[in-house]
Symmetry: C2
Subunit: 307 residues, 2 copies
Amino acid sequence: MNLNEIGEVGLIERIKKKIDTKDPHIIAGIGDDAAVIKSDGRNYTLITTDMLIENVHFTLQAMSFSQIGHKALAVNLSDIAAMGGVPKFCLVNLGLNKKIRVEDVDEIYKGLQALAEEYNVKVLGGDTNFSPSGVIIDMCVIGEVEPEFLCLRSGAQAGDSIFVTGALGAAAVYLAKGKYFPPTPRIKTARAITKTVKVHAMIDISDGLANDLHHIAKSSNVGALINIEDIPVFPEADTELALSGGEDFELLFTAPDAEKDKLLREIPGKTGTALTCIGKITGEGIKIKRGDGKISLLSLRGYDHFK
Amino acid sequence: MNLNEIGEVGLIERIKKKIDTKDPHIIAGIGDDAAVIKSDGRNYTLITTDMLIENVHFTLQAMSFSQIGHKALAVNLSDIAAMGGVPKFCLVNLGLNKKIRVEDVDEIYKGLQALAEEYNVKVLGGDTNFSPSGVIIDMCVIGEVEPEFLCLRSGAQAGDSIFVTGALGAAAVYLAKGKYFPPTPRIKTARAITKTVKVHAMIDISDGLANDLHHIAKSSNVGALINIEDIPVFPEADTELALSGGEDFELLFTAPDAEKDKLLREIPGKTGTALTCIGKITGEGIKIKRGDGKISLLSLRGYDHFK
C-alpha cells in the first residue's frame, strides 16, 4: 500500500495500534503533544521530538539559519507548553550537506540558543551528520510538570468553554509572503492558565484551529460548537486562514464554563497574551456557527505529508 | 569556512564551546555517550539521540527495513549501556519518501519493536514526515541509572586496566560483504560489570577501538598503552579492522588493575559475553605495543562525516 492511500493520520493510527504502550510509568504516550512519564520523583517528565526537513518544513530562501534554529526549538517548546509543563533541556541532531558552511551552523545555534536562554533551556548535546541532500534538524526537548498542572488532550467535557490565545493565521500570512513568522512558545501563558483554573484539555495549534479542535474532540470523545465571529484573526488574515493555517503555535484549551470570566479577566493582564472564548464543548459533532446563525460541520483542513 | 576544513570533530568542539551547559541538574552533557540529568528522584535520567540517514548510515540494498529499525534502536541502547544504565523509553521520528510503502514502515517498526521488547523498552511515540530524498530515522532513548553505577568517559586513572567485551571488527567484515551485522547492545553486560567493580570510565565502540580509546584518554586526561596481541579480533577480521572498524558497539572500559582477575573470572560466566584485558591506562600518550615489542603512537582512524 502506498503512503498516500493511508495518509499521515492513517499511518500514525496504524503505528499506534502496533506498539505496546502499557506501562505503569507511561501517563501519556503517542497521541498527545509530548509523552508523559512518571519516574521516581514527584514531578512527571515530559519528552517531545520534532524533525524539520529542508523544503518540507523550511526553505533556505524563506528562512535564515538563525530562524531555522529558532523554529526547531520553538515547535518543541510549544509542545511542552501544551502539556502545562516547563522545558528544561534539549538535544539537537543536525544533518548537513556540502553547501553548508561552519558559519551557517553557528547561526543555527545562535537562533536556537537565544530562544533557549529566554526559557532557561539547556542544550545537552546531540549529533552532527552528513546529509546527502537537504538540511535536517531534529530536536528533542525534555521538560517537567507537576501532576496537578498536567494538561492532556483527552479531558474535555461537554459544557466546557473553549479558549484560544493570541490571534490566528499569522504563520499562514507570513508564509504566503515567503516569510517566517517566529512563534512565541506559550509556556508562560500556559503555566499562568493551569495555575488559575483546572484546565480540562489543551493542545498547541500546529495543524490549524480546525484540525487541532478535532484532535481534542477525538481524544476526549466529545463534540464542539465554535462561533466563527469569535475567532481571533491575525491582521491581514481571514477566518478561513485562521481555521486552516498551521504553525501559529497558540494554545487551544477547554475549561469549566464557570471559570470563563476569571480566565478572561486575569490571563491577559498576567501574561500580556490575548485570550478569547470561541465556543463550547458539546456531546458530539464538531460544528461551527456562521455569522448568519447557521450551524454546519467544521471539516478537517490542511496539510497531510503523504497526500 | 567549509565543513571539510574543520571536520566533524572540529565542528562538535566548536559547538561545545558555544553552548552553556552549566546547570546543577546536568551531571554530564555534550561529550559523553548520553546526557545525564539529576531530577527530583534518586536515579539519574539518561538521554541519547542518533539520526540515521539513507546512504550515509545505511543503504536499502544492504539492509532490510526491519534491520534499519533494529539499528536505529540498537545504537541508542548501546549509548545507554555505556553509561551503566537501563533503557526505558524511546521516541521515533521518521522521514519517508514516495518510494516507501506502508508495509515498509511496518517492517521498520517490527525490527525496532523486537529489540525494544528484548530490553523492555517502550515506544512512546514520535513523528512521521515526508522526506524529499532518502529515508531518515531519528531516535531518542530515555533511560536511568543509579548514581553509584554511572559510568562516564572521564574517570580513567593511570594504572587502570583497559577491557573490551566481545570481538572487534565484526561490523567492518559484514560491511565489506555489503551486509548488516546486528550488534547486541551490551546492556546486561554493562550492568553486570558496574555491579561487580567500580568502573572508572566506559564508552561503547561506535567509532572503532582506536578512536574510542582516544575519546576516553582525552576526556580523562590520561594516556594508554594497549597490546596489539591482546585485542580480541572477530573471525575473518584482522587487527587493523579491529582497531579502525566502527559500529561493533562492544564496550571499552577501565577499572582498577586490582579488580582485573575478578572481572575476567566473573563477567563471562555471568553474562555469556567475552571479556579481554587489552592494556593499561598511563600518564600520557596513546600507544600500542606491536608483536615485536616495539611501542608506537596509536593514531586516530576512521570516518569523518565532513572530510
